[in-house]
Amino acid sequence: MNQRIHVGVFRDEASLLSAIAESQERGVRIVDAYSPYPIHGIDARLGIRRSRLTIVCFLGCLTGLAVGLGFQYWSSAVSWPVNVGGKPFDSLPAFVPVGFELTVLCGGLSTAFVLLMRSRLWPGKSSRAVEGVTDDCFALAIARKDASLPAAELPALLERHGAVEVRLEGGS
């Protein structure tokens, strides 16, 4: 559905939030909201689900730990067991530090990687950010859910809440 999206630019957080509130009340589809900083509580209002990055991170950690301990054990007790200082080949306590570091490393890297992937962020991606939204402006992109709402109502809604500018985007 080729939809036309109206983007309203606000000067403050409160205006954005009130615009969101009315849009939801009136059944306007909120495409996204943009802000220069994370707004406390906005995910709940927009109905954004809690991120599942936690799971990714946990799995990353688990993988790191398993690979770390497994490789250490394999390389020192299976691949080529070497007598080092009379210690046993499978000196597990000695493997803990590296196992831990790899846990953290894999967890951290997988979290960051999945964050970028899910958010479609990558080096060189051309930005479609609303002007000013990285400075001191807030923006709300809304679209009609269906034809029940008059098209002109959307810019009006935005302006009612103090949008200093309303733009029309081609939609996705």
Partner: protein
Amino acid sequence: MDRRDRDDLLLPFEDVASSRRGFLQLVGFGITSAGLASCSRGPAVHAVPALEVSRELVPGRAYWIASTCGGCEAGCGVLAKCRDGRPVKLEGLPGHPVSRGGLCPAGQGSILSLYDSRRFDGPQRATSAGHQPASWTAADAELIAAFERVRAAGGRVRLLTGTAHGPSTRTAIRGFLDSFGDGELVVYDPLSVSAIADAHAATHGARILPRYRFDRARTIVSFDADFLSTWISPVEHTAAYTAGRALDADPPRMSRHFQLEARTSLTGCRADVRRRLAPRDVGPALSGLCALLERHAGVAGRLAGADESAPHRGLLERMADELWATRGESLVVAGANDEGVQVLVNHANELLGGYGTTLDLERPSRQRGGDDRALERLGAELAEDSVDVLIVQGANPGYDLGGRLPVDRAKLLVCCAQAPDETTAHAGWVCPEPHFLEAWDDGEPHTGALVLRQPTVPLLRDGRTLRESLARWSGDARSDRELLRDHWRAEVFPRQTARSDFDEFFDRALHDGHVVLPADGPRVSAFRADAVRPLDRAAPPAEGALELVLYAKAGMLDGRHGHNPWLHELPDPVSKITWDNYACLSPATAKSRGLAEGDLVRVDLADGSGAVELPVHVQAGQHDEVVAVALGYGRAGTDRFTAVGPRWLEGRRTVEPGGVIGASAATLVGSAAGRRRFDGAAATVTPVGGAVELAATQDHHSLTLPGSLAPKGHEVREVVFSGSFDDWRADPGGAVHRHALPEDDLWPEDHARATTWGMTIDLARCTGCSACVVGCQAENNVPVVGRDEVLRHREMSWLRIDRYYQGEGDDLRTLHQPMLCQHCDHAPCESVCPVLATVHSSEGLNQQVYNRCVGTRYCANTCPYKVRRFNWFDYPHESELENHSLNPDVTIRTRGVMEKCSFCVQRIQEAKAEAAREGRAVRDGEVAPACQQSCPADAIVFGDLKDPDSRVARLAADPRAYVVLEELNVRPSVRYLAHVHNGASEEHGHGS
């Protein structure tokens, strides 16, 4: 890593000998690395096999040639290990009548002089522009003409030599000199014991030097004689001395050794009872001792009452009692080159019945044949300009005699030195001799015990033995080998009966390195007691003056090894100082004069006849009225060592260009009654301002911790255990403090194995002589790093000898402990290496893999024994030629890697390879690391600890056996056997 280790070394003599005697063909196999062609597809390395195959010489396979050491006159047997046509290592020759398998530091080091690039190549003629090379033909023609003129004119010909020459050379000399109207041989020893021979002339009617049998002595009294380190025949004495202190004999025996000395000698350090005695007191003390012995013997001699005023009277009485109690097995020796003293020594030994047992006159020693009075006469003749020809061989009078023999006054001076020295500078002709490893020769260290020398390598430098030269000059065209064989056929062969075929006899003698002929001792007369006179105490030196004692250092000896970097870097066994000589003062004297270690002083003879500037070394245990200076330093040309060691921003040279290493004390050698006098001259010590650092390898000299820092009850580190013989008999393990370690391991034993290489070091046998240190250096290509690096505590020796003093003055006790990688089963160094460069082998070796090492130095930090050595720089050899002394079986380590004692793993591998080839197991005793091989005292034993029948396993089970720092539970494979002395319990005490 950038140096290919062994193969390049196989290309040895292209530059030095390819034109000579088809040497390249003999060498067999050479490989040249054609540059660094590694970027191309293949490694362009060329291999050049010999054109003619040689049956004996298999490339890469070592062979051994028995010969005789030329490091000094003692005549020890050596086995030269050769690879690819050249000797790479000298080892002791087992079963040798003199050395019994041991070899001293100087002997070990003497291989390096073979590869000395300074050696003369062919004869040199003196010209206005210095020495110019000439051919032997030209030299012979000119010299024969000159000799002819002198002969015709009845001129005076003198041949001045050191001691070492065997029967064949003696015959040649006699023949040559007899052809002149006035030809005479003058022999001198730089470290003269002329007085002993003179004393025997006085008391026994024959100018002989007895052979001392320390193995037969149960009581030994030594006045200043450093017989375990430098005196006459140290290897022989050490072997005999330790044989006389055998705890493993049945019944165990241990001689008691009294040492009365002015300085602190290595021998004094080993003594059971040691007292300080100024040189001027030696005569009175000996007179007193003789008087006491006369009383025991019931002889009324002239010495009666001499004991009344003698110094250390109580000790003298005790010594006399003990000597008398063991009469027939007692031995008194003195180091002083003073006839009066030596006559008293003879008297004491005669009273004690030592002649025939502890002093052998049947096979007297020929290891020192010098006659100081003949030398004095030669000096007079030279001073009168009446010597027409002076031939100098095997000696360097220009240095040894401190310029007091005017060799330049001879009308023709011919020198047979191998390399330029202080005497050749004046020579009209230099007719260089070959190195002892290049030549045929014989010797006679003990009368009737003949030794042989054979070439191990073709001549690297064109030289000719004196024997051959004399033959040429007498018109005899035989080769040197023929001269030697003919002499043996005519003179030696008939004196034996064991073999009837000369070739067989000679080959056997070559194989054994020696032959012992039936005794044919000189006739000595009955003891002439009338020669004995009491010696009074000399007047003390003037106020402020000290008594000068000149001594020799192990390794450097009289200075003949002054161009040997290994021996310069060998720490003195007592002072632990390298690369220098110094003026030793006792701590009390140094303190009273406000002198500290390293302060520069001038030592002046009180009569003004000589002076030398040296740094001070504060020497524990030295007599307060004595200043001791080592001979053998300050050799001309030692500024060659300016290039030794690394050159870098803050690096300081070992010696400045134009300078010399140390200072020559030969100018301080005085003369008394026609004999060279080494001790007792009055000397003043004056500070001249300034100070230098002395490069010692040890900073803290005691097991006692610095006072204010020591924890209560733990003031002494329990590293060396020592106990008396009596205590040992009561409780053989009593001296060792053991720790109760848990039986259980933190982790189960994962590494069961069939073989555990291990070592025992018997501290009761070890004398600290340092032969093992040089042996290890030679075997393992340990680099020389130079004075500055030693000062920075970066010496590279894999094996060091720790020396700990306890007490001071008369109470000084000294302990030596060889310290090397302990090959711990729970090695702390292994766990910390990130790249597995040091790990444990399946045979218990702590392996260091040089090519894996990245050089974190963590292992060295964590080593409790601090035996790991890091390559701080590249340490190149002085010359390409010197590289040929490298052992091709051991990697040369590059900069940035750690190294350490490997238990001579290359020898283990060699033994295993040979065993595999012969389809058998390695036998006990088949593997002897370099340190064990050369140990004259047999203190080191190596083998498989897991084999209950091995010698090392039996020793490791000895109650005296302990491991150093046992409480760390690192489980070393090196076990030390506690030191046992034969003093009273309280004299040495327990626990270090």
